[in-house]
């Protein structure tokens, strides 16, 4: 496992690269980029995402996971972040992963908002992205923002405005971006899996697989962290093996 910073000097991203521990079945190098959710969901899901990386490594897959700009250990503050910037972060991470592994194409796994952003990048980087897993994806940005802002106090204008969403600043510009976010269900890679640990609909023509397990992105037992839904992780890892 190799934790490191990558990206540009102005936009340093924290990532953890973990190489495959076994030979992949089939031909070619397999490499997957994991895209995290946002806010409290990011903190809670960290354990599950790390565990998913381990399972994928055991299945012969190289993995890179990273923190969005303005979140986690990456540089920047939330008020400097934007969805367009985060989509760019995925592209930077794809290039980093391809460069590190020599993989011709990579797969993306995205949880919640990370899934939605991964799908949008997959649609415009078809030459580089051959497969996609949407794990409890945010399907409607409008509904997601409504949920986020339901009990969120407003931030003072002199501090940049926007709202405080359970400890995380969400600026007006980013809220607007989120409201306009739509999962591009007509442009998904031919090889796409939709996994749900909470009830949800199909995404375009891809039926949702309901897998038993607690959502990784919800708090488990007042710990501040989420559960590690083993069956969900196993299903995703198995899909790649």
């Amino acid at each position: 496992m190799n934790p490191f910073f990558f990206g540009t000097r102005q936009r340093r991203l924290f990532g953890v690269y973990s190489p495959a521990r076994a030979s992949a079945s089939g031909s070619g190098t397999r490499a997957v980029l994991l895209c995290a959710p946002w806010g409290q969901e990011y903190l809670r899901a960290h354990r599950a995402i790390k565990q998913l990386a381990t399972l994928l490594n055991q299945s012969g897959v190289h993995v890179l996971r990273f923190d969005w700009f303005g979140t986690g250990d990456s540089a920047g503050e939330m008020l400097d972040a934007s969805l367009a910037g985060w989509q760019g972060d995925i592209e930077t991470a794809i290039d980093e992963l391809k460069d590190t592994t020599d993989a011709a194409r990579v797969g993306l796994v995205g949880l919640r908002l990370g899934g939605t952003l991964a799908a949008s990048v997959a649609a415009r980087r078809r030459k580089d992205v051959d497969s996609l897993v949407l794990w409890d994806p945010v399907v409607s940005g409008e509904a997601y923002v409504k949920e986020l802002l339901a009990d969120a106090p407003a931030r003072k204008a002199e501090h940049g405005g926007g709202h405080e969403v359970m400890g995380f600043a969400l600026g007006e510009a980013m809220s607007a971006e989120l409201r306009g976010l739509v999962l591009p269900h007509a442009e998904l890679p031919a090889r796409t899996l939709v996994v749900r640990s909470v009830p949800g609909e199909a995404v375009g023509a891809v039926p949702a697989e309901q897998v038993e397990g607690q959502p990784a992105w919800l708090e488990d037992h007042h710990s501040g962290a989420g559960a590690v839904p083993v069956k969900v992780l196993q299903r995703i890892a198995q899909w790649w093996s």
């Binding site: 934790p3 490191f4 354990r47 986690g72 405080e164 400890g167 710990s223 501040g224 962290a225």
Partner: protein, 287 residues
């Protein structure tokens, strides 16, 4: 822009840390402690609401080197392979992290910062290592005291819901009575459970008293902040002093009790306040 660096610590390089160097670029000196922030529970090193990252970056702006890292088995750090129990493993992790920071970065003195379990780890470790000279303890475990119970029941007595529960037979008193009568909790909800009751055992009190005494005896300064949300743990400022009457904190203790503040400093204003307090306190005692 702060140039943070990954540092793998411990003999196996299994502990993942992030160093936030002092922004002034000054080299480490024996007189200037580095601040090391410990995990809270099982949340990884960025901390609740990314608080630890913000703290490290603010300290850096004030010329203080700061480090956040994951204990073994938490966040990105690998589990240990030596079979140590949970507490000993955490204390050994801290020692190994400080050893690496000393050998690789030249730090000789450290301030440990911890929230909740991190505070407990910090104070228990401090008495074992003379390199630790300061402790920032946010909501550490403190045994209950007689005054705690007086406050607790006085506050309950003024709550309408408590009287409604008595009238409805749902109050814990009724349930305790019912259980003593052998009837269980017929038709009632489970009795209230005190999750920290074991802290009040003589063994736990003796252990914590010894830990605070050792940390005090080795010359540490203390900044202790208690938040009102953890009413189950503490409910007045002086509870720390009353719980450990044999520990002579003297003027090396800055003790604060914050009303209207939650355990993880979720609102930005709370977070800015606690980060500001720590950033103010650390350099003040560095000389």
């Amino acid at each position: 822009m702060v140039n943070e660096q990954v540092l793998l610590m411990g003999p196996r390089k299994a502990l993942v840390g992030i160093v936030t160097p002092a922004a002034d670029g000054a080299a480490a000196s024996p007189d200037r402690p580095a601040v090391v922030v410990l995990n809270s529970g099982i949340i990884h090193r960025v901390g609740a609401n990314r608080m630890t990252v913000q703290l490290c970056r603010q300290l850096s702006q004030q010329g203080v080197d700061a480090v956040r890292f994951d204990l073994s088995g938490i966040g990105d750090s690998e589990p240990r392979d030596d079979g140590l129990g949970l507490l000993e493993a955490s204390l050994t992790d801290i020692k190994e992290a400080l050893d690496t920071l000393e050998s690789a970065r030249g730090f000789k003195r450290f301030v440990l910062v911890g929230l909740c379990s991190g505070a407990d780890h910090a104070v228990v470790y401090a008495g074992r290592d003379a390199r630790v000279t300061g402790l920032v303890l946010l909501d550490p475990s403190i045994p209950h005291t007689p005054r705690y119970y007086l406050n607790h029941y006085a506050r309950r007595a003024t709550r309408l819901s408590s009287w409604m529960n008595i009238a409805r037979g749902k109050h814990p008193l009724w349930q305790a009575l019912g259980q003593r009568m052998g009837g269980g909790a017929h038709g009632a909800e489970p009795a209230e459970v005190d999750p920290r009751a074991d802290l009040d055992t003589p063994q736990a009190k003796a252990f914590l008293t010894q830990a605070y005494a050792a940390a005090q005896a080795s010359g540490n300064r203390f900044l202790v902040v208690l938040t009102a949300e953890r009413e189950d743990q503490h409910n007045y400022r002086e509870q720390l002093l009353d719980a450990f009457p044999d520990v002579s904190f003297g003027d090396r203790l800055q003790l604060e009790y914050w009303e209207d503040t939650d355990h993880t400093f979720t609102p930005e204003a709370s977070r800015e306040r606690v980060i500001g307090r720590i950033a103010q306190w650390v350099p003040a005692g560095a000389d």
